[in-house]
Symmetry: C3
Subunit: 350 residues, 3 copies
């Protein structure tokens, strides 16, 4: 289904977690409304191409691996990792100039495989959001997960930029017991990013309390969430008790599947229980459960209520807690508009 919806294209999205793509299988995933085939070359380096044979549009992901090439199941055309046809079993075997598949720039970094769906010549890996915390973390102190959401990614972005929802929507694990909503979050822009910050003193959230030297003692909390285009959110919670700081640093990475569905990737690191693999697994499972069972039902109900209308066209009531999210929507909207009005820089997607 083609949609008039536009996405930011000249940017890096997460296409998959590293462990979703193994040595032998194909992964087929729709990204920005386009079917994408992802697989690892024999060197281990992943590659992504349009999951659609240029001959009769059969999905290449139904085909066969031949070394680093893909052979279409329907008529046997083979394409190498550059998307170039390398074998045409038909007639005299001549390979037409047009016998190629669009390849998407791909970078594997920090446990994720990043994809560039825009003009390939503009793809610069140095622009990938810095996830060095994930890279440097011990394997027992970092974990990633994936959730599929039946909602536009901007509804999830709103959710993440406005953390006051935690106290209303979430259960005891991460509830701050009302510390967030009364505050007007500090919203600052740093280069192209937008950051919302909250602070409170007294107790902390249940998730952190048990890792304090004195679980009943007084603490000071700082909570930040920073948006990086297109839809990457770094959420940091620091809990200070005396000289000691206990912290979690999380990444929420949103990739539009279609106008009304989203691939939601999540990674979490921390500075405590660093060698506890069992805790590590419990922690990521607990966070995933909270997002999937508490946030998603409400966000998906928002999507149903809004249909294909734009948020601002529905004239929502604006609250103080919306400042960060509205700022992100406006900036992203301008970036998409700027990209759309520069036709020369746009990729030919067919």
């Amino acid at each position: 289904m083609t949609s008039p919806v536009t996405f930011l294209r000249n940017t890096w999205y997460v296409a998959a977690t590293s462990n979703e793509v193994n040595d032998s299988d194909f992964l087929s995933r729709m990204i920005l409304g386009e079917p994408v085939l992802i697989y690892r070359q024999q060197s281990g380096v992943p590659v992504a191409m349009r999951d659609r044979c240029p001959h009769r549009f059969a999905p290449l992901s139904r085909g066969k691996r031949q070394g680093d090439s893909v052979s279409c199941i329907y008529h046997g055309l083979s394409f190498n990792a550059e998307g170039q046809c390398t074998h045409n079993p038909h007639g005299d075997g001549r390979i037409s100039e047009r016998a190629k598949v669009q390849v998407f720039p791909l970078v594997e970094q920090a446990g994720f495989i990043w994809i560039w769906m825009g003009a390939a010549e503009q793809a610069d890996p140095s622009q990938i959001v810095d996830c060095s915390k994930l890279l440097s973390a011990k394997p027992t102190a970092v974990a990633t997960t994936y959730i599929h959401s039946q909602s536009n990614y901007q509804l999830i972005a709103d959710n993440l930029m406005d953390l006051t929802h935690i106290d209303h929507l979430h259960g005891p694990l991460i509830n701050t017991h009302g510390h967030l909503s009364p505050q007007t979050a500090e919203v600052v822009e740093l280069g192209g990013s937008v950051k919302s910050s909250w602070q409170w003193s007294g107790d902390t959230i249940e998730l952190m309390r048990h890792h304090l030297a004195d679980p009943e003692g007084e603490v000071r909390n700082t909570l930040d969430v920073a948006w990086h285009p297109p839809a990457i959110f770094m959420l940091d919670l620091f809990v200070y008790q005396g000289e000691v700081c206990v912290s979690v640093e999380d990444y929420h990475l949103l990739t539009p599947e279609t106008a009304t569905t989203t691939h939601y990737f999540f990674a979490s690191t921390r500075n405590y229980n660093l060698d506890d693999a069992e805790y590590n697994a419990q922690h990521i499972a607990g966070m995933r459960h909270a997002f999937a069972t508490e946030d998603m039902p409400v966000i998906e109900a928002q999507q149903l209520a809004m249909g294909d209308e734009e948020l601002f066209d529905l004239k929502p009531l604006v609250l103080p807690c919306d400042t960060g999210g509205v700022r992100v929507r406006r900036k992203l909207s301008k970036m998409i508009e700027a990209e759309q009005t520069q036709p020369l820089a746009m990729v030919d997607n067919r």
Copy 2:
């Protein structure tokens, strides 16, 4: 999904049966294409409001009861039974002029909860169709039920105004054995209503026969169905045997859910077996079974065959039995058109 389909708005529809709305839970039901939240206040008085928070459109029905108020699950805004925001936990807690939810006039009467989806200032409870027979009936001699139909409500209205279908579509319980079709029903207009009437002598329907003094004896039957706008039908069957009359008086109350789906409410009273609770339960279950398994499959197949086309645009063959139903369609159509061309009287639905 917004639809170009128009409904009569300045009128009373049944939103629910009284026993569908208990003391503690929320009922969320789409009416005329709009999500409506219905619940009882602590006084027992029911209230209805748009099931959509004005902030970010989360369904209020996912939220929490706080006395007579509703608190949105997503960001904690509270709304009282008048739809006014009474608590904003964010920032300085100021409550904007715009922080309100549309409330719909609601009246509980005769076992039903009636809703007015039009201009609230025009809502006059005295205009609710007189259901005093339901009110005055003994509890063991009145029953209500509900059927969800995958069809436009006017296809069900056609079905009810043309009772000749009974002999063709229905089984032995209510079949008249061919007495209806040969007659040209008498169709009269009484004020704003339209009534079709049939009469026959000899036997009666199986449902009534067993309640006659002489089940094999000669009787005279009168069968009436009266339409009241927008889609309320009062069906009376009187079976006379000598000086005695055995009767059932039924109400069919249709509320559009969407352009192609309907909430079908039904109530039945009678003048025999008045103290027989078991018969009462069997009677309503039997009627519900006939509608759900005999009428609905055909009406829903009609809907599929017609898609979103208007009945008259498809140039149906018109039979003598259609007189009442066509009269109702024409009158309702004029009422809707009149309402649509009086923009000042229309409610702002957003």
Copy 3:
């Protein structure tokens, strides 16, 4: 759902296999987007009419058989096998000029029931594709089957006209081990039909090998597929070993259900094992399995990838193997266009 898609109408399609229509039941099947009722008269002669009562559009297939007539379940109108209303139980029983159902010309021939969805006066049974091989075959040497496909019929036509796909898509039973793709098929037009032909020497396909006098011996194969409008394909494989020829002659008959779904009928005959009923059953089951599990998933994925776009609008890469299929698409397209621009010859479908 009405669709702007056009089909060739003045032509014969297979509506059903003979054994799908028994002596007592109704068959309701959508053909070219229209619901069609098919049943056998008491003489055994099948009849087809629009499966939609002209009164209120209830499906006639929900009604009752009365001799050779159909009585509508909703209001009891009866229609004879000519589609003429013969009984109106309503009022004075007068039968309107307009009380008729469109009847479609129908011919039973060679195990199939053929339907003409165009202008009835142009329906000439002598134009039905010659299937005399099916007629003359022993009952133990001919079999038919049916597959429902979630794809436009032209995608299946492409599949059949380009048999090089066999070596890439299909398993060991019918794989030629690479003999087809290197050849440029000979494509010839014969009257209104288009035929693609391949030849090879050496071995043959597994399906045929076991029926040779010397299964390991050298053979010569000829493989032809001939398209007849609208979407009938005769596929012949002849395997020559010395003086002896072992052959299968198959019919693939495609009938559009809607723009994106197809009724796929298949019949197979052969010149070996003529009296082996068990082999006959295994053979048709094996072929059906290959089409349903190997071809259909890819063809249905093509349909999903293409949505409602036309093949050539998507600028497919054209390979030597496409010659026959492209020729068929162009000829069919011209026939449909010619028919559409002759409005006088077109049937009134309402």
